[in-house]
C-alpha cells in the first residue's frame, strides 16, 4: 500500500536476465516474431508490462501463465487488434501490417457466437476472404481449398453442418482449418487445446509437428502445464510481465513456474488497483 508510487520496473525485478527486453537489436527477416518492451493497458489498467521476447524460426512456442496474466492480450496486441501503450512488434523483421498475410490467427473458441447461421465450410472460407478480395464472391476454387483444409483437420464430412451442431473439438478444428487455409508462416493460437476431446488434442499436436517440419512457426497459448514439455520447444512464462522465456528444457523449471503462478504480483496489482480507484474517484 505504501509503495503505490513504485515504478513497474522495480516490481518486475525478480525476473531473470532472460526476460530483459532485447534492447536496441533490430529484428531481421528470418525471425518470425520479435516483441520489444510491449506494454498494453485496458482502460488505463495495465495488463501486459514491458514484455520482450524473440520467437525462433521453425519452433513451437508455448505461452503459459495464470488466468488474467495477459496471454490473449499479448497476442491481440501483436496483431494490432488492441492499441499498445508502448513497445514495438516485428513480424519477419517488419511491421505486422506489412507481413499480415504470413500470419494465421486462431482466436479463442469462446470469442464468437457459435449460433451464427453459417456452416463449417463457410467459417473456413473466411480465412480466404482477404485473398478473394473486396466485393468479390467466393468461388468453387476457394471452397475446394477450404475443403482441403477441413480434410487436414479431419472433419471434411462435417463441412455442411451448422456450426452450433459441432462438438467443442470440432469447432476448434474448424478454427484451425480457417487459419491453415491461408498457408501462413507464423501461427498465433489462443488456447486451441481448451476443452477439446483427446482425439482433437492429438490431431492438433500432429498438425503442429507437421507445420514445424515444413518450417512454420507457431505461438500457442496453453493452459495445461503437464503437456508443455511434450508439445513445445520453447516456452514463454507470462504473468503480466515475462517471468522467463527460452527453450523448455532450461526455462520450464519448478522455480520459474513458482514465480509465474505462486508468487502473487502484489505490487503490480496494487498499482493498477490504485489507478483504477483514482479513475473511479474522478
Amino acid at each position: 500500500m505504501a509503495n503505490e508510487s513504485t515504478p513497474p520496473s522495480a516490481a518486475s525485478s525478480p525476473a531473470p536476465p532472460a526476460a530483459a527486453p532485447n534492447g536496441g537489436r533490430t529484428g531481421n527477416g528470418t525471425v518470425p516474431l520479435s516483441v520489444y518492451d510491449l506494454t498494453v493497458a485496458y482502460d488505463r489498467k495495465p495488463v501486459v508490462w514491458d514484455v520482450g521476447f524473440d520467437v525462433p524460426p521453425g519452433s513451437l512456442v508455448g505461452i503459459v501463465g495464470p488466468n488474467g496474466a495477459g496471454k490473449s492480450t499479448l497476442l491481440k496486441a501483436v496483431m494490432d487488434l488492441i492499441p499498445r501503450a508502448s513497445g514495438r512488434v516485428e513480424v519477419f523483421g517488419e511491421s505486422y501490417r506489412r507481413n499480415r498475410d504470413r500470419v494465421g490467427y486462431v482466436p479463442q473458441r469462446e470469442s464468437v457466437d457459435w449460433d451464427f447461421p453459417v456452416d463449417a465450410l463457410d467459417v473456413v472460407t473466411m480465412g480466404l476472404y482477404r485473398e478473394i478480395g473486396w466485393c468479390r464472391p467466393v468461388r468453387k476454387k476457394h471452397r475446394q481449398m477450404a475443403m482441403d483444409a477441413l480434410h487436414r483437420v479431419g472433419i471434411a464430412d462435417l463441412a455442411s453442418r451448422q456450426i452450433s451442431q459441432l462438438s467443442g473439438g470440432q469447432q476448434q478444428r474448424t478454427f484451425l482449418a480457417r487459419a491453415l487455409v491461408q498457408d501462413a508462416d507464423l501461427y498465433l493460437m489462443d488456447e486451441p487445446f481448451a476443452a477439446v476431446d483427446a482425439a482433437t488434442e492429438r490431431a492438433i499436436v500432429e498438425l503442429l509437428n507437421e507445420m514445424k517440419q515444413r518450417g512454420k512457426t507457431a505461438v500457442v497459448i496453453h493452459h495445461d502445464l503437464q503437456t508443455v514439455p511434450e508439445y513445445f520447444d520453447h516456452v514463454v512464462l507470462l504473468n503480466m510481465r515475462i517471468v522467463a522465456h527460452g527453450p523448455v528444457s532450461e526455462t520450464f523449471t519448478p522455480e520459474n513456474l513458482q514465480k509465474t503462478y505462486g508468487g502473487r504480483l502484489t505490487l503490480l496489482e496494487e498499482v493498477s488497483a490504485a489507478m483504477r480507484r483514482q479513475e473511479g474517484s474522478l
Binding site: 491481440k76 496483431m79 490467427y105 482466436p107 467459417v123 482477404r130 467466393v138 482425439a199
Partner: protein, 513 residues
C-alpha cells in the same frame, strides 16, 4: 440482450403512451384549422379516405390490383423499404446492434422539428422533405454519437446510454413540436406523421427517395456480403486479417441510417425499429445459412411493406406504420411456430423423437438384460437364433415406467421390426437383438467410465449412465473404448446387480407419460 431489449421496449411504450396523451387529443384542438384541412385534402387523394367503413369489393379490388396511382406509389415505396430494412436488419441483428437503430430513429425527432423551424424562419419551403430529412439525419447521428461517447467516457453500460439518449432526444423533439404549434407561421401538420408513419402523405418524390436509398442499401449489402458476414461473426479475426473493422461497422451503421431516415415517413420513428429487427428474427427460424436468412428477411420485410400499406389504403383510419408492423409481427409468429429450421413445431417434434428413442433404448436394454439373466441361470445357452420371450410384468419390474408408456413403446418397436409381441409376451427379433447388444454395450462402457474415472459408486452408476448415454456420439464411444481399452466388440458384464430393490428407484423416472 433480452433484458436490455425488454427494458428499452417498455421505455418506448411509455414514451409512445405519453405522446399519445399529450399530442393526439390536445394536439388536434391546438392545431390551426387549416392544418386539419390539409390532412383532409391529402387523405382525400387516397381512395378510401372518406370513411372507416369496410371497403366495398370494388375498392378492395382496386387496391389489391394497384390500380390507383397513389396506392401504387405508396405500396412500391413501402415494399422496397421493407426489403432493404430486412436485409440490413439481418446484419445488425447478428452484430447484436439491433437496438442502435431504435435509438437512431428516436433521435431524429428534434432534428425534424428544428429543420422545420429553421426552414420556416428562413422562408424556405417549410414542408420540403429534403430539409426535414437532412435535419433528421443530423440529429439521429448526434444521438448515436452521444451513445457511443457516453459509453466510452463514463463507465455506464451501453444499454443505459441508449435508453437515456433515446428518451432525451425524443422528449426534446416532442417539446419542439409543441413550440412549432405555438408559432404564428406554424404549419405543423404532417410532422406527426414522422412519429407514427403516414403513407397518405407520401408523394412520388418520396417513393423515389425510398427507392434510391433502398437500392443503395441492397446493392451495398450484396457487394459487402462476405465482409459484413465476417464482421458479424468474428471481428477479431477480421481485424487480424487487416479488415478495417471500425469502418465496416460505420458502413453498416450508415446503411441503418439510410433505411431509417427514408422509412420515417412511411413507418414512423417509433415503429421503424420493427422493420429492422422482426424480419431478420423471423428469417432465422427458417434457415441456418446467412445467405438464405438475408433473402428471407428481405422477403418478409417486403411482404410486410406491401400488405401493410395495402391494408392501410383500404382502411383509411388505420395508420400505415402500425399496419406494416402488425403484418410483420404476424409473419414473425408464423415463422416462430412453423419455421423449418428452428421453429417451435420442429423443436417439439425433435423433442418427441428423442423421448421416443430414449424409451426404445430402455426397452431394448431391458429385454437384453432379462435374457442375459435367464441365460446365466440356465447355463451357457445364449446366442441362439431364437430369443426368449418375456412377460410385460417382467419388463415393468425392470424400470419404473407406466404400463401405457411401455405398451406404446413396444408397439412402436414392433412396427420397426425390433421386437415380436404375442399375447403380453415380448421377444427381441434378430435385428432388435443386435441393436440391444450395441446399446447395452454403450451403457456399460459409460458405467465403467463413470466408476473408474468419475468415482461414482456402483449402486448409483446405472442412473447416471442412463441420463447421459442417449447423447453418446460415435466419437465419444471411440474415446470411451480407447480409455477403457476395450477395442473388441464384447459387451462387458454389468458392474452392478441388474435387479435393484424397488426403493432405489429414483422418483425422476416415474410417471413420464
Amino acid at each position: 440482450m433480452r433484458i436490455r431489449g425488454r427494458r428499452v421496449c417498455s421505455l418506448r411504450r411509455l414514451i409512445a403512451a405519453a405522446v399519445l396523451v399529450c399530442c393526439l387529443p390536445g394536439g388536434a384542438g391546438a392545431q390551426p384549422p387549416d392544418a386539419d384541412r390539409g390532412h383532409e385534402i391529402r387523405s382525400d387523394r387516397s381512395i378510401a379516405g372518406r370513411s372507416a367503413a369496410w371497403p366495398t369489393s370494388a375498392e378492395f379490388r382496386r387496391v389489391v390490383t394497384l390500380q390507383d396511382y397513389n396506392v401504387r406509389i405508396v405500396v412500391l415505396g413501402t415494399t422496397l423499404l421493407g426489403c432493404a430494412a430486412g436485409m440490413v436488419g439481418s446484419f445488425t441483428l447478428l452484430r447484436k446492434r439491433a437496438l442502435m437503430g431504435d435509438a437512431l430513429s428516436h433521435s431524429t425527432l428534434p432534428g425534424i422539428a428544428l429543420a422545420f423551424i429553421l426552414a420556416t424562419h428562413w422562408g424556405l419551403g417549410a414542408k420540403s422533405m429534403f430539409v426535414l430529412l437532412i435535419g433528421a439525419t443530423a440529429s439521429g447521428l448526434v444521438g448515436v454519437a452521444a451513445i457511443l461517447a457516453i459509453g466510452r467516457l463514463t463507465r455506464l453500460k451501453e444499454d443505459t446510454a441508449l435508453g437515456a439518449v433515446l428518451s432525451v432526444f425524443f422528449g426534446g423533439g416532442v417539446a419542439l413540436l409543441g413550440v412549432i404549434q405555438q408559432m404564428k407561421t406554424g404549419h405543423a401538420a404532417g410532422l406527426e406523421s414522422f412519429i407514427y408513419g403516414k403513407t397518405a402523405s407520401m408523394a412520388r418524390a418520396d417513393t423515389q427517395l425510398i427507392a434510391a436509398a433502398a437500392s443503395v442499401c441492397i446493392v451495398a449489402c450484396l457487394l459487402l456480403f462476405k465482409e459484413l458476414k465476417l464482421l458479424c461473426f468474428d471481428d477479431d479475426f477480421a481485424g487480424s486479417r487487416g479488415y478495417p473493422v471500425t469502418r465496416l461497422d460505420m458502413t453498416l451503421m450508415a446503411l441503418v441510417v439510410m433505411v431509417t431516415i427514408v422509412g420515417l415517413q412511411a413507418v414512423g420513428l417509433i415503429l421503424m425499429i420493427a422493420l429492422l429487427i422482426i424480419p431478420a428474427a423471423s428469417a432465422r427460424f427458417w434457415t441456418e445459412r446467412l445467405g438464405r436468412m438475408f433473402l428471407i428477411s428481405g422477403g418478409i420485410g417486403a411482404a410486410s411493406g406491401l400488405l401493410g400499406a395495402e391494408t392501410s389504403a383500404l382502411f383509411s383510419k388505420l395508420p400505415s406504420g402500425a399496419m406494416i408492423v402488425l403484418v410483420c409481427t404476424a409473419l414473425f409468429v408464423v415463422s416462430m411456430a412453423f419455421g423449418s429450421a428452428r421453429g417451435l413445431s420442429v423443436r417439439i417434434r425433435k423433442r418427441m423423437q428423442l423421448n421416443r428413442s430414449v424409451d426404445r433404448q430402455h426397452l431394448l436394454r431391458a429385454l437384453f438384460e432379462l435374457q442375459e439373466e435367464s441365460s446365466h441361470t440356465a447355463g451357457a445357452r445364449h446366442a441362439t437364433d431364437q430369443h426368449e420371450s418375456f412377460g410385460v410384468e417382467d419388463l415393468l419390474d425392470m424400470r419404473s415406467w407406466s404400463k401405457r408408456r411401455l405398451f406404446r413403446t413396444i408397439r412402436r418397436a414392433r412396427a420397426d421390426g425390433m421386437v415380436d409381441w404375442d399375447r403380453d409376451r415380448v421377444r427381441l427379433t434378430r435385428r432388435g437383438a443386435i441393436e440391444a447388444a450395441r446399446l447395452t454395450r454403450q451403457h456399460r462402457l459409460w458405467e465403467l467410465y463413470l466408476m473408474s474415472y468419475a468415482e461414482i459408486a456402483p449402486s448409483r452408476v446405472d442412473r447416471d449412465a442412463d441420463a447421459i448415454e442417449h447423447v453418446l456420439e460415435p466419437e465419444i464411444i471411440a474415446e470411451l473404448e480407447s480409455l477403457l481399452e476395450r477395442k473388441h466388440a464384447s459387451i462387458p458384464e454389468s458392474p452392478h446387480p441388474l435387479h435393484e430393490s424397488p426403493e432405489s428407484v429414483s422418483p425422476s423416472e416415474q410417471g413420464g407419460a
